[in-house]
Amino acid sequence: MTDSPPLVEMKNMNVTFGGVHAVEDVSIDLRPGEILGLVGGNGAGKSTLIKTLSGAQKPDSGQIFINGNPATIDNPRDAKALGVETIYQTLALAENIDAPGNMFLGRELVTRLGTLDDSAMEDASRRVMGRLNPKFENFKTPVTSLSGGQRQSVAIARAVHFNARILIMDEPTAALGPAETEQVRELMRQLKREGIGIILISHDIHDVFDLSDRISVMLQGRLVGTVNREDVTMDEVLAMIIVGKQPGELTSTDLADLHG
C-alpha cells in the first residue's frame, strides 16, 4: 500500500493463562483506512489478542507499535489516549440516558458555571451522527428505546467523536437483523473512507468477506496466516479457520472434508 507506518503493528504477542498458551507468537498489523478481519473458531485466541490492544489484558511478551511508535498499553485509558477505541458486543451504553449523554459519558461538556451543557452535547452528537448515520434522529430518548443498529451508531459515534483512529469491533452485527446489519456495514465503509482503521472480529464469514481488505486467521492461539481478501475464496478462508492450512497447501481432500 503506502510507505506510511501501519496504524497498529503487534509483534510476537504471547499471552498465557496458567499452562494454556492462549496467544502464541502472533503478529498482525493494520493500515489506515483498512478493515482487517480477524477470524477463528471459539477459543482461537482472537479476543485475547485484541484485548492486549484495548488494554483489557496484559501480554506476557510482545510489542505494540502505534503509528510506528512503541506503545505501552496497561489499561483501557492508555488505549483511548492512543486513539484505540473498542466497540463492545454489549455496546456498553447506559440504558436510561439519551444518545448525547452516552456519547459524552464521563467526558461531559459543561458550561462556564460547571453545569451540563446539554445543547452543546446534542449539537456535537448531531454533527458526528450527520456524518456517520444521517438518518439518526433520536437524540432525546433513552437509548433503551433505540434499535440495535441505532445503538451501534451511538457507540461508534462516541468513539469517532473522541478521535479514534483505530476501532476494534467485536461481533458488531451478531445481534442485528438484516436491515440493521446493512446499516452497520455502511457505517463501517464510511469510517474506512475517513481513514480509520478497523479490526473486525466476527464469526460471520460473510461479514468478514464482504467488508475486509485483509483477513487474519487464528487457530489454537496461533496465527494461521494473513491473506488479501481479493486473493482468496471463502472456502480457502474456511479451510484456514478449520484445518489451519494456507490456501496453497490445501488438497482436494481437505476441501471435500470441509463440505462434509
Binding site: A92, A94, G101, L105, R107, V110
Partner: protein
Amino acid sequence: MSGVADATTTTRPSWMTASGIRTLVREHPMVPLVGLLALLVALSEVIRPGIVSPNWAGVLLRGAVPLAILAACQTITMLTAGIDLSVGAVASMSGFLVATLVGDTGLVLAIVIALAVSALVGLVNGIGAGVFKVHPLIMTLGMSLVVLGLANVWQVMRVQTGSGVPTEFRQLGANLFFGFIPVNLLLFVPLALLVIFTLNRTGFGRLLYAIGDNPVASRLSGAKSWQVLAVLYLISGVLAGIAGFLFSGLTNTASVTLADSALLPSVAAAVIGGTSIFGGRGTYSGTIIGALILTVISSILSSLGYPEAVRQILFGSMIVFVAAAYTRITTD
C-alpha cells in the same frame, strides 16, 4: 353513580388501561405520586372532619423534612445501585455530638465537629464500597453498628445533664412561622434544590445515573467510579448529619438511637418516590413526595389510634409492594 358502569362499556381514556397506567408511571412518575398524596390528605379529612388545616399541614411538613433529608441519602446512593443504611446511626450520632459538645465548644464548632465525623463515616462507606467493592448494603450496615458503638463509648465518657439540644436547633427543627410554615424549610428548600440541581445538571449527577445504569459502560467510558462513590457516600453522610440536627431539634432529645426508627421510612420514601433500587432511575422530587406520603399515612394511623407496630408493618409491606410494582411497570 351510573357513570361507573358506563365506563366499562364505552372506550376508556388511555390512562385507565393497564398500558396507559404504565406509560403514565414511567414517563410522568410525579402525577400518580401527587395524586396519591392528595388522596391521602382527603382521606385524613374524611376520617377526622376538620383536621386538615394550615397548622395540620405545617406540622406534617415539619415532620417530613428530616425524613426527606435522610431519604435524599437513599435516593442518591440507590441511583448507583447502592444504599446507605448508616444514615439512622449517623443522624443520631450527629445530633448527640452537638448536644454533648455545645456547652464546651460553642454551637459553631460543635456543628463543624458533628458534620466532620458524619463526613468521615460517609467517606469510609464510600471507600469500602468503591475501592474494596464491599456491597453498600453490608458496608453501611456494618458502619451503622460501628457508629452506634462509638456513640455509646462517647456517651459513657461524657456525663450529660439535661437534653443539651441547643435552642437554635429547637427553633430550627420545631418552630412554625405564623403557626403553619416550618422553620426547617429555611434549611430544607435550598438543600433540596441543590440535590435536584446536582442530579440533573452536573456531570457528577449524570455519572451517578450512569454507574447504576451500566457500571461497565461507565468504567469503559473512563469514569473513575471509586472516586464518584467516595464523594457520593461522603455527601450522604453529611446529609444524614444535617438531618440529625433537625431530628434532635424536633424532638428536643439527644440520644444515640434517636433517628434509628427513621431508617426504614427513609428507604421507603425513596422507593415509593420511584427510585429504583437497581440503580439508574429516580428523582429527588419523587422522593420528597414519597416522604410526605409516608408522613400523612403515619398521621392517619395515629389519629386512628393504631400503635407504632402497625406503622412498621405497613411501611415494610409498602416497600416490598411498591418495589415489585415498579419492576413490573418499568420492565417489559
